[in-house]
Homo-oligomer: 331 residues x 3
C-alpha cells in the first residue's frame, strides 16, 4: 500500500463522564434532528437537474423525508445548488419546505473546497451566494469543508474512503489562504446572523481533532465553529485516534453535527483494518456518552443523521429515533 | 487462493432514478411479503422427517411465522418435499396453512438442480411434481435454480459462500440441456397457471446479471422469469458487478424476489473482500432505490425475506416491516 | 502472529431442534432480563468513586436503565464493589434499587480471578464478601470468572479480544486450587441460598465448551453452574467450535446467561477472521434456536444483555425486546 505517512495517533481514552444532571437547551422531542440528502440524486429520472424542476416536483421528491417522520432537513448543494437559484425560485423552495413541514437548520456546501487549485475562487463565490440563500431560507448554519470531488479511483470503489484521498497541501501559504477565506465567509455569515460549521474530514486541514482545533483557532472567528463528523475519521482504514479522544477534543467546539457511526474490524497483529457504515447504536462510538459530553460542554446545535450505504434515509430515521431516546431531559 | 478465473466485472453505476410517481399494483399493506424457511430444520426433535409429521405438528412448527406477523410464507422443499406428498397430505397441508392465515405466493425447490450429473433427471421429475403441488396450494410461482447441495468444504465453513462452489460446466450441450429442461418445466407451469422464477446464483448459468439475462433469453418462455436474488452475488468475496448494475439489468426481468442484504468490507489496495449478512437497511444495496426501480419496470411479484446467520425469521420480520415502510403508495 | 497453539476445534453442527411444545418456567413478559453495566464508569464526573457517592446520585445514575425499560439489573463490582460496602450503605443501595423498580437477579464479580498470582487470596476474600452482599440484596446468582484485568496491550486495542490474553497456567496444582476455591465459594453461596455461575472465557479453565464442563464436573457442586457467555468465545479471531456445538454442550449446564452476539467474517483460504459486536438478531448465533434449546434442557435463569462497543445499554434494550419476542409461551 502506497499510503501517505501517517502521523502518530492518540491512543489515550479520556474519560467522557458527565454530571448526572445537565442543563439542556431543548427537550428530546424538540431538539432539531435533520435528515441528510446523501442518497438524493441531483437529477430526475429524465435527466433534468433538480434545479430545473418545478416546485411541485421538489415537493414530491421531499415526501419520503416527511414519510420517515422528519421535521428538519439539511439542504445539500449536491442536490440543488441553492446559491445559484434566483430569488423567485428560492421563495418557491421555501414554500415547498413549509408545505412539507420541513425546517432547514443548515445548508451543506458539498465537496466544493475554497482551496481547489482551479475552482477555489469559484467555490468561494458560490459559498458566499449559498450563505445568502441559507439566510433567506432561515437556516442557522452553512456547513463547509476542505474536501472536494472524489478521485476517479475513489468513485470506482465500493466505499470511497477505502481509497485514500490526496493529502492537504503542505505549503503554509495555502493554509493561510484557507484561513483568510473562511474568515471572509465568517464575516459575511455573521452579518446575516448565520454561523459556519467546518467539517472534520481526513487529509485536509480539518483532518484530525488536533489539526481541526488549530485551524479553527487560526481562523479565530466567533461565527465559525466545528462540525465534528467523527464518522469521516473513524472509517479510515488505518490507525486512528481513539473515539474518546476525538470526542473530548472536538465536541466542545461544535456548533452543528453530522452524526454517523461505523463498524471497525481490526487485527492488530496483521495491521488489518476494515470499516463499514452502521447505525448509531451499533458502531464503535458510544453516542449516548458522546452526546451527553457535547451537551455538558455547551452544544445546542442541530444533528444531521447521515448514513452511507444502503438506504441512508431509512437508517437516518432509525438514528433520529435513537437520538430522541437518549437525549437528556431537563431536571 | 485457487479460485476460478473471474470474468471482468461491471464497475459502472447506472442511475436508478425513477419518476416521483409510480403506478403501483399493490398498496404497501397488501403487497405479498413472505417469510423464508432457511432456518427451518427438515426433521423434528426426535428425527422424524417433517414430511412424516402430523398436520397438528406442522401447524405448531408454523406458529413462529404467524407470531412474527407474517401473512405469507414461501414453502421450501428443503423443509417439506411437497412434490412427494400424496393428495390427502397436500390437502391437509393446505388446511394447516389456511388455519395459520398463511398464503403461499411461491414454492422454492432448494438445491435440486435439473443439471445434476447423477440426479438431474430425478430432480427434473421432482420439479414437475412440485409444480403440481404448488398449483394445488394456490401458489403463483415455483422458484428453481441451478445450484445444488453444498460441498463438504462449504458445509464446514461458517458461511458457505466463502468457499467457492464448482463452476458451471463449460460444455454448450449441458447448457442447451438446461434450456430445454426449463422450457419443458415452463410449459408444464403455464398449463397450470403458474410461473417459474430462476434464481441468480454464483457459478451457474445464472451466475451474473448478464449471464442470467442471456439464459432467460435462450429459454424464451413467457412463464419463466427471474428471481433477482442480489444477495447471492454481492456476498461473493471477490470482485463483483456494482449493485446498481445488477439492479438495472436484472430487475426488469423479475417475477419473484428473494430479497436480502450484506455488509461488504473491502481493502482495494490489498484485494481483501469480506462479507456478512445484515438487514435490508444496513447492507450495501439501497433497497429503497432498488424496489422503486423494480416497480417502475413492472415488478408486481412477491418478496421473500431471506436472511442467513442468526435468527433469520426475526430479521426477516424486521425486513418485511422495512419493505412496507418504503413501498411506494399510489397517486 | 505469536499466538498460543490452538487446540483442535469442533466443526460438527449438532442439531438443536427442540419439541414444538416446551414446558416454560416463566412467561415471555416475566422472564428476568437484566441490563448489564459494561458502559457504566466507576467514578463520577469529578472523579469520585461510585462507592463514595450519595444514594441520590446512585439513583440518578441508574435512571437511564429505567428509561430503557428494564426492570432487572446485574450489579457489577466494576461499577461498585459491593463486597466492600458496609451494611448501612448496602441497605441504602437496596432502597435505591427498589425506588428505581430494579430487581437484581445477579451480581457480577468482574475480572477479579481467585487464581491471580498476587491478588488471588484477596480476590477470594472479596468474592466471599460479594456473596454476602448479593444475598443481602436478594440476588440469586453471583457470577465469577477466571479472567482478570486486561493487559496494557489489550487496553490499547479497539477491541481487547483482538489481542490474545495469557494462557491458563498448565500446572495441575493451580487448576486444583481453582477447583477448591470455587467449591469453598459454592459452600458459602449454598448456605445463603445463592448459586454461583462461572463464565465461559477464552484462555482460562473455562475457555472452551469441553474444558468448562470438565471444570464444572471437577468442582462437582450443586450450587455451581455455568454462565454460557458464547460471545466471549465466538469473538476470538481464530478458529472456534461451531456455535451449534457450543450451545449443545454448554446450555444444559447454564444457571445464568450473559447473552450477546457477534458478526464474524472469515476468509477460509487466507485464514482471516475478523469479528465485531452486533445485536442478538444480526450475529452468527441463532438465539431463537439457542434459547429454545436451553429451555428444553431445563434453563430457568436470568438473561443479562451485554453488548460491547457503541451504546451497550441501548443495544441491550433492543436485545431484551428481541428475547421477549422469541421466548416460548406455555401450552
Amino acid at each position: 500500500m502506497d499510503r501517505s505517512p501517517v502521523p502518530p495517533v492518540h491512543t489515550e481514552r479520556p474519560s467522557l463522564v458527565t454530571p448526572s444532571r445537565l442543563p439542556v437547551p431543548h427537550t428530546p422531542e424538540d431538539w432539531p434532528i435533520a435528515a441528510a440528502m446523501l442518497q438524493f440524486p441531483p437529477h430526475a429520472a429524465d435527466g433534468t437537474p433538480v434545479s430545473k424542476l418545478d416546485p411541485e416536483e421538489w415537493r414530491r421528491l421531499l415526501q419520503p423525508v416527511v414519510d420517515e417522520g422528519f421535521t428538519h432537513l439539511e439542504l445539500s448543494t449536491a442536490w440543488l445548488p441553492l446559491g445559484d437559484l434566483d430569488r423567485a425560485r428560492l421563495t418557491a423552495l421555501g414554500d415547498v419546505l413549509a408545505d412539507a413541514g420541513l425546517a432547514v437548520p443548515g445548508v451543506g456546501v458539498v465537496r466544493q473546497s475554497v482551496l481547489h487549485p482551479e475552482r477555489g475562487q469559484h467555490n468561494l463565490a458560490f459559498s458566499h451566494r449559498t450563505i445568502d440563500a441559507a439566510a433567506a431560507l432561515g437556516a442557522d448554519i452553512v456547513c463547509l469543508g476542505l474536501h472536494d470531488t472524489l478521485t476517479p479511483e475513489q468513485q470506482r470503489a465500493l466505499w470511497f474512503w477505502t481509497v485514500p484521498p490526496d493529502e492537504a497541501p503542505a505549503d503554509p501559504e495555502v493554509r493561510g489562504l484557507a484561513v483568510r477565506r473562511f474568515r471572509e465567509l465568517g464575516d459575511h455569515a455573521a452579518d446575516l446572523g448565520v454561523e459556519l460549521s467546518l467539517e472534520l474530514y481526513e487529509n485536509t486541514y480539518l483532518g484530525s481533532a488536533d489539526e481541526a482545533i488549530r485551524f479553527l483557532d487560526d481562523i479565530g472567528h466567533d461565527a465559525v465553529g466545528l462540525n465534528p463528523d467523527l464518522g469521516n475519521l473513524i472509517r479510515q482504514q488505518r490507525p486512528i485516534d481513539t473515539w474518546e479522544y476525538l470526542v473530548s477534543v472536538t465536541l466542545p467546539r461544535a456548533n452543528y453535527w453530522h452524526i454517523k457511526n461505523y463498524a471497525r474490524l481490526e487485527d492488530p497483529a496483521a495491521g488489518t483494518v476494515l470499516t463499514h457504515p452502521t447505525s448509531l447504536e451499533l458502531g464503535i462510538v458510544n453516542y449516548r456518552a458522546a452526546v451527553r459530553y457535547a451537551i455538558a460542554h455547551g452544544f445546542t446545535g442541530a444533528f444531521v443523521v447521515e448514513h452511507y450505504g444502503g438506504d441512508g434515509l431509512s437508517v437516518g430515521a432509525a438514528n433520529a429515533a435513537y437520538l430522541r431516546r437518549i437525549l437528556p431531559r431537563t431536571g
